[in-house]
């Protein structure tokens, strides 16, 4: 018998992401991803001054503020062919790394770990044994017997109070939860410790950006950070020192706790390397430029088709012509006016709402396509593109992850297994470990450049009297982000943002081809339709972020989401 499950967050006044699946014989046969909130943001930017566009753009989304600000200034700089100083590249890169580490840590522990970690088994754990599991594998000091016993006491207190609070979301004891009590204790201890590191990564962004969220230091043409080694109020050795020590505190948590926890999860749930493959075309754009002209990058970009790593086409820089010609959006199944594929520079965002019609229009998300094909974006695309193109840092951390997993005696993981739900979790941890290495590198690049006597941070923009077009690319925590702008006589005449979640949460296109969320759910097991934990695992593996939250507290304490089984 086919059962229909709808998971619909009925958040406050509007929801964001709705997932519908049809389950038959214990697995998903059909799936629909729908964004239930209109994103008309682009229309707000038309007619505005491009030098201020980033201030608006960073309110697109409450969580990924920085990334939109960055894509916006890069888009205008691209349109003007404006080069920015090397210091500006490094300062921007450090902000982006700080933001990404923060985002990945929060995703793993606070957004998705509890899909895999059953905290109700923690009282049964032996803290000494839990500490010994980590011994010899991790140098993380937060794995001590004493620390773990203290966390266990907290959880015991929570459970005996009968008030699990935010931890009572009901999937405890689900048959798909399989970690030992000791592993659950270890991971939950890191969940709590992560709060401290979430704060530190926030401070990294704050020191450079002036404020976080909503950094204030950007400008079309560079950054507004004044560099003067002799002034207290500017970027000086003191501030660089503070930055370095924050990074040195943060990195061990990423590489010795988060990275290894993701390996533990992968080793403990190996069947999740078989589910969630979905769309196997991957897109990543190069990021973290190491020179002023942005010709060399520390994160490689490229395109992989049909899951074949040998097919990788390198995107060597942001001036890559094929990507500019390949990206287009389809609105056949999205609540917008228009037909056929629209190029972003000509794109429109005029709403045409119908109800949720599974054979018609059913989402506010457009369907972006690359040469007509759906693409998966995100850390997995980063890792696959890097691995396929022989990028050393990607190889180093990916191979280390595979070695760790096989050392846990749970079989071998190959690069092809990464094309899965578990692969997306593991790839995010691999990317975080890589970004940690790169944080120190870019700190060094900035410091050396300043010590060399270069204090330039800004090149003023000049706006021509004719129309120019540009695209700003950024490999954001959730994947490839691009802002496409048309600038005419110093104002925006068009603005389109193709965001990572648009690629991944894409609805079907005019040919009925589903997007990555939708196709990754096919074949996904569902043991209990009333508790579709397995569906959440796959959806969460993408780190969904439906841009532009409407934000209201619910004074009536209503449930945020509901599961409806028909």
């Amino acid at each position: 018998m086919t059962q229909r499950i709808t998971i619909d967050p009925i958040t406050r006044i509007e929801g964001h992401l709705r997932i519908d699946v049809e389950v038959d014989g214990g697995s998903v046969q059909k799936a629909w991803a729908s964004c239930t909130m209109w994103r008309g943001i682009e229309n707000i930017l038309k007619g505005r001054d491009p030098r201020e566009g980033w201030v608006f753009a960073q309110r697109f989304c409450g969580v990924c503020t920085t990334v939109h600000a960055m894509a916006s200034v890069r888009a205008v700089e691209d349109a003007l062919q404006l080069e920015i100083p090397a210091n500006a590249q490094y300062i921007r890169n450090l902000i982006l790394i700080g933001h990404a580490l923060h985002d990945h840590i929060v995703h793993f522990y606070h957004l998705s770990a509890l899909d895999w970690v059953d905290i109700t088994t923690i009282p049964k754990a032996d803290p000494a044994r839990a500490a010994s599991i980590a011994d010899g594998v991790s140098t993380w000091p937060g794995n001590s017997h004493r620390e773990l016993a203290a966390v266990q006491d907290k959880v015991k207190g929570l459970i005996s109070s009968g008030q699990l609070g935010i931890f009572s979301h009901g999937y405890w004891g689900h048959p798909a939860m399989r970690l030992s009590p000791e592993m659950n204790l270890l991971l939950f201890a890191h969940y709590l410790q992560a709060l401290e590191f979430q704060r530190k990564s926030c401070q990294v962004v704050g020191i450079l950006g002036g404020k976080t969220p909503h950094i204030q230091n950007l400008a079309v043409g560079g950054v507004m950070n004044a560099i003067n080694l002799n002034s207290l109020a500017t970027m000086n050795m003191d501030r660089l020192g503070t930055l370095q020590s924050l990074l040195q505190d943060l990195i061990p948590f990423v590489q010795q706790a988060y990275f290894l926890d993701a390996c533990v999860l992968a080793a403990s749930y190996p069947e999740w390397f078989r589910y969630g493959r979905g769309v196997t075309n991957y897109l990543a754009v190069p990021d973290l430029p190491v020179d002023a002209k942005a010709t060399q990058f520390d994160l490689p970009g490229g395109v992989i088709s049909n899951g074949n790593l040998a097919s990788v086409r390198t995107i060597s820089d942001w001036r890559d012509q094929p990507i500019r010609a390949a990206v287009a959006e389809d609105v056949t199944h999205a609540w917008y006016e228009g037909e056929g594929l629209q190029r972003p520079w000509k794109g429109k965002t005029d709403p045409n709402y119908t109800d949720f019609r599974e054979d018609g229009k059913y989402s506010w998300v457009k369907a972006p396509r690359y040469d007509g094909a759906p693409m998966q974006v995100g850390p997995l695309s980063n890792v696959l593109v890097g691995y396929a193109s022989g990028h050393l840092l990607t190889r180093k951390w990916t191979d280390l992850a595979f070695n760790r997993i096989s050392a846990m005696d749970r079989g071998q993981v190959q690069i092809d297994d990464m094309q899965s739900t578990m692969g997306r979790y593991l790839a995010r941890a691999i990317r975080s470990a890589m970004l940690s290495d790169l944080a120190l590198k870019h700190w060094q690049l900035l410091t050396d450049n300043i010590l060399k006597g270069d204090d330039a941070t800004y090149n003023p923009p000049q706006f021509p009297q004719h129309e120019v077009v540009g695209v700003g690319m950024h490999e954001a925590p959730r994947g490839t982000l691009s802002h496409w702008v048309t600038v005419d006589k110093g104002t925006f005449s068009n603005y389109q943002a193709v965001v990572p979640t648009t690629w991944n949460a894409s609805p079907r296109d005019e040919n009925g081809v589903p997007g990555p969320y939708e196709s990754s759910l096919l074949g996904n097991p569902v043991a209990d339709p009333g508790q579709p934990l397995e569906v959440l695992r796959t959806v969460h593996s993408f780190d969904p972020c439906m841009a532009c939250a409407c934000h209201m507290l619910d004074a009536n304490g209503r449930r945020i989401a509901k599961v409806k089984v028909l």
Binding site: H16, V106, K154, G165, R199, H540
Partner: protein, 196 residues
């Protein structure tokens, strides 16, 4: 640079400024910051819609005042002050994305590690409309002075210093000035009103 660890008291505005009345919290704290002066122990900050990223700004605080739009029964524009126990029900939440407000979760997480704020007060307004690019409704705009009075009351009752600036700054409400939308809705012209 703001050090998010230095001030024991925070006045936090939440909301999306591009979504009409949803931006009430952000607007109100900016108007408050420009019209009133507090001691160095009080940080006044607009956080937008941080979701779980709210946690670093609650970490280890003494008093936290949150200004936001609230979904509650009543007339749009009504301002209510809630103690934590009145507002927050730490009940089950199924989270699909990390956009949901996150206040309950952040507080619960921080309390578990012993770093939660001692007191949380929410100054809420009931919105009229929260739509893209439509600006704040007149009804809700008119509630701003009431909300500011509530913030001041909370601070003074706790022995904190808060006084009117002799020379108020002009609030930076950049999102309110929209050349395309000068059609009688509440925009720039209404903003100076709020500085009194």
């Amino acid at each position: 640079m703001r050090d998010s660890a230095s001030s024991p008291v925070s006045v936090i505005g939440l909301g999306n400024v591009l979504l009409g009345d949803d931006g009430f919290g952000s607007m109100t704290v900016e108007v408050f910051r420009c019209a009133y002066e507090c001691g160095p122990e009080v940080e006044i900050i607009d956080l937008g819609t941080p979701g779980l990223d709210l946690a670093p700004f609650l970490y280890g605080r003494d008093v936290v005042v949150i200004v936001d739009a609230v979904a509650a029964e009543g007339q749009p524009g009504t301002v209510r002050t809630y103690a934590e126990s009145e507002l927050l029900d730490f009940r089950a939440q199924l989270r699909l994305t990390d956009h949901d407000p996150g206040l309950q979760e952040c507080l619960a997480q921080l309390r578990l590690v012993g770093r939660g704020p001692s007191e949380v007060i929410v100054v809420g307004v009931i919105p009229e409309r929260c739509a893209f690019g439509e600006g704040i409704s007149r009804t809700v705009l008119a509630a701003t002075p009431l909300a500011i009075d509530s913030i001041i009351r909370v601070l003074l009752e706790r022995g904190l210093d808060c006084r009117k600036r002799p020379q108020p700054d002009r609030p930076k409400l950049w999102w309110i000035v929209n050349p395309k939308l000068e059609d009688g809705r509440a925009y720039a012209d209404d903003a100076p009103l709020l500085t009194c």
